[in-house]
């Protein structure tokens, strides 16, 4: 029976599962859209993974990350729960050991991680605004009627990228429509949009950071060749897009689980894909805070609760 280490990244837009073997090689990776249903996405992801790898596997350890990491940790039984920054940095420096800068643009957030000698020395994330992240590209591609997969290739064909305001997604959109109506070719507008996003990223997320090569560009948006080219052009050096750029968070948390090497994994078994899980919520009326409590249930059994400030519910339901 082969031992595998699982990494699960439950993000706002996508849920990724990666399985590593004992040597740290990726055996399989799954990328699924979360569609606002993290439990279902996670179960689907595991199901796909198991159907490809076969049931004859032993899970040696599980790591979770992403904004849904707590939920995923309880659901799957995780040995290590880590934030996205650490997971991404670990994955990046595993694939490109001498990396000094990581640019990560995902569905709803973007981050920059500065590493020196393999250690994170600084990082920043976008603030409340999600302008300049994958969601915006998605939305614009849909508006222009081109599949997001073709976006990058089209942008590369641009002869003369037009200038588009990148500060705010709403401004960018009206600017794009304006350029469109003036008669600029689609390719030039797409390339202009990529450049605007890169400018916005470097001015906001990357503000004041010492961006040194080698630079790794990862996250779902790294699939976009137009963005890759815009970054390379703007930074004056070719950015490296690693092989597993879309699932780096999951990859990193699998590496962390492997590094931790638990004697017995907390994994709840491969049949968890077929079990009934549900979440519910209620407002606690214990005090004036009216905390919104979330509970995760398997059948009728409460697995975990969270959301309370005082610990009244979360402690009571400790698994």
């Amino acid at each position: 029976m082969a031992t595998v280490y699982l990494g699960i990244d439950v993000g706002s837009v996508s849920t990724n599962v990666v399985a590593l073997d004992k040597q740290g090689e990726v055996l399989h990776s799954v990328y699924i859209r979360t569609h606002g249903q993290p439990i279902k996405a996670l179960q689907d992801g595991l199901r796909q993974l198991i159907s490809d790898l076969g049931k004859n596997i032993k899970v040696g350890g599980v790591g979770t990350t992403g904004s849904g990491r707590t939920l995923a940790a309880v659901l799957a039984g995780a040995d290590v729960v880590k934030n996205e920054i650490t997971a991404h940095a670990v994955a990046s420096s595993y694939l490109v050991p001498e990396v000094q800068t990581v640019i990560e643009i995902g569905g709803q957030d973007s981050k920059i991680i500065i590493l020196r000698n393999g250690v994170v020395t600084d990082f920043a994330m976008n603030t409340v605004c999600a302008a300049g992240t994958g969601s915006f590209l998605d939305q614009q591609a849909a508006r222009l009627g081109i599949p997001i997969e073709e976006f990058g290739a089209k942008a590369l064909n641009a002869k003369n990228a037009v200038r588009i305001a990148g500060r705010c997604a709403v401004f960018a959109e009206s600017d794009m429509i304006h350029k469109q109506q003036q008669g600029h070719p689609l390719e030039d507008i797409l390339a202009g949009l990529c450049e605007a996003l890169v400018r916005n990223y470097l001015n906001n997320v990357g503000k004041g950071k010492e961006i040194l090569a080698p630079i790794v560009f990862q996250g779902g948006v790294a699939a976009n060749d137009g963005m890759r080219q815009a970054f390379s052009k703007n930074l004056g050096v070719d950015v490296i897009v690693p092989k597993y750029y879309g699932v780096m968070g999951a990859f990193g948390s699998a590496l962390l689980a492997k590094e931790m090497y638990p004697k017995v994994s907390a994994f709840r078994g491969i049949d968890l894909t077929e079990r009934e899980f549900s979440t519910g919520g209620f407002e606690c009326s214990g005090c004036a805070n009216h905390c919104e409590i979330v509970e995760l249930k398997e059948g009728k059994k409460v697995l975990a609760r969270w959301g309370d400030r005082c610990g009244k519910w979360s402690n009571a339901a400790a698994v």
């Binding site: 880590k82 920054i85 250690v119 994170v120 409340v128 805070n289 009216h290």
Partner: protein, 314 residues
């Protein structure tokens, strides 16, 4: 109100976190019944948000909530017009305007005691004038007021000393990292509004240092490297703490907590970050607003603590 025992409401918000002990001791020594609003809760926050002007920062909105909670339970509200609490430095104008803003927002509005406190020219004289003015509104004068002031000063000093000693030292890990957390007192100590960041950081296995652990002299001394004195009292305090923590080898990183929409902090935060970056001290800026979703905040805190831990062991 002559002869009647006053029931005075003091909102537990903004400068309560700096001078609450002074005020409470003073009024109680005068024989008043002091009612301090309960710690910030969702109810108080919601009340404040619905009453306050939209462009105010969250701490000011929370202040509205506390005042509203008190308004039906007291004879009068104590909302001093804080202009300056020390020589040549000032308090944010939004706070100076509190009494007027509350009068238009609270319906019905109880009597508001809004004596001006301005110590910018002559701290000692300014304080005496302010204290006499507050006392006069309540119907007190003479030696009784002086006695109450003395008592209040004593209580305040004792409270300051206690705060200096209060360190959030974690006993959970063997070699904890040390983090300095700076920001306005009403964010650091209001556990609901400020999302309880100091305790959160402590729970992640770190030892926490706060600006209140420093003496005024230490703050002033640290600020000497600045080309000029900061105009804002709280800005000066924040900057002094950042500069002090920055120079110390026993502090591994600094977290600056600010409220979204804070005018003074938009400048001070940038200044602090530049100084910290120049000397290579890890610095994390956290911006708080109305959202109660803590996921984003926790991610940043965890990542920061992880980073410091890995840096220290590398």
């Amino acid at each position: 109100m002559e002869g009647k025992k006053w029931r005075l409401g003091v909102p537990r918000a903004l400068f309560y976190y700096y001078y609450g002990s002074w005020w409470k001791a003073f009024f109680e020594d005068l024989g008043l019944e002091v009612l301090v609003s309960p710690p910030t809760s969702k109810e108080i926050l919601d009340m404040g948000v619905s009453l306050a002007v939209v462009e105010a920062c969250l701490p000011v909105k929370v202040y509205y909530g506390h005042a509203a909670w008190l308004s039906e339970r007291v004879d009068a509200l104590f909302v001093p017009r804080l202009v300056s609490v020390e020589r040549k430095s000032f308090i944010c104008p939004k706070l100076m305007g509190l009494p007027d803003m509350l009068r238009t927002a609270l319906k019905p509005c109880p009597k508001i005691i809004d004596s001006t406190i301005n110590l910018s020219r002559n701290p000692q004289k300014g304080l005496e004038t302010a204290v006499r003015s507050v006392a006069r509104t309540l119907g007190f004068s003479g030696s009784k007021v002086l006695k109450a002031k003395e008592k209040a000063e004593k209580c305040y000093k004792a409270w300051l000393a206690k705060q200096r000693e209060d360190k959030l030292t974690a006993g959970t890990t063997e070699n904890p990292i040390n983090i300095g957390i700076v920001g306005h007192g009403y964010l650091l100590y209001d556990r609901y509004l400020g999302m309880d960041i100091p305790h959160k950081v402590q729970k992640l296995g770190s030892r926490v240092y706060l600006p209140e652990n420093l003496t005024d002299d230490e703050v002033e001394e640290a600020c000497r490297v600045l080309p000029k004195r900061l105009y804002w009292t709280l800005g000066q305090k924040t900057m002094g703490a950042v500069l002090n923590f920055m120079e110390r080898d026993d502090i591994d990183g600094i977290i600056h907590l600010t409220a979204f929409g804070c005018g003074p902090d938009s400048m001070v935060g940038e200044l602090a970050e530049r100084y910290a970056r120049r000397c290579g001290k890890p610095f994390l800026l956290l911006n708080l607003d109305e959202h109660t979703g803590e996921a984003g905040l926790n991610t940043r805190l965890e990542a920061f603590v992880d980073m410091l831990t890995r840096r220290c062991s590398a």
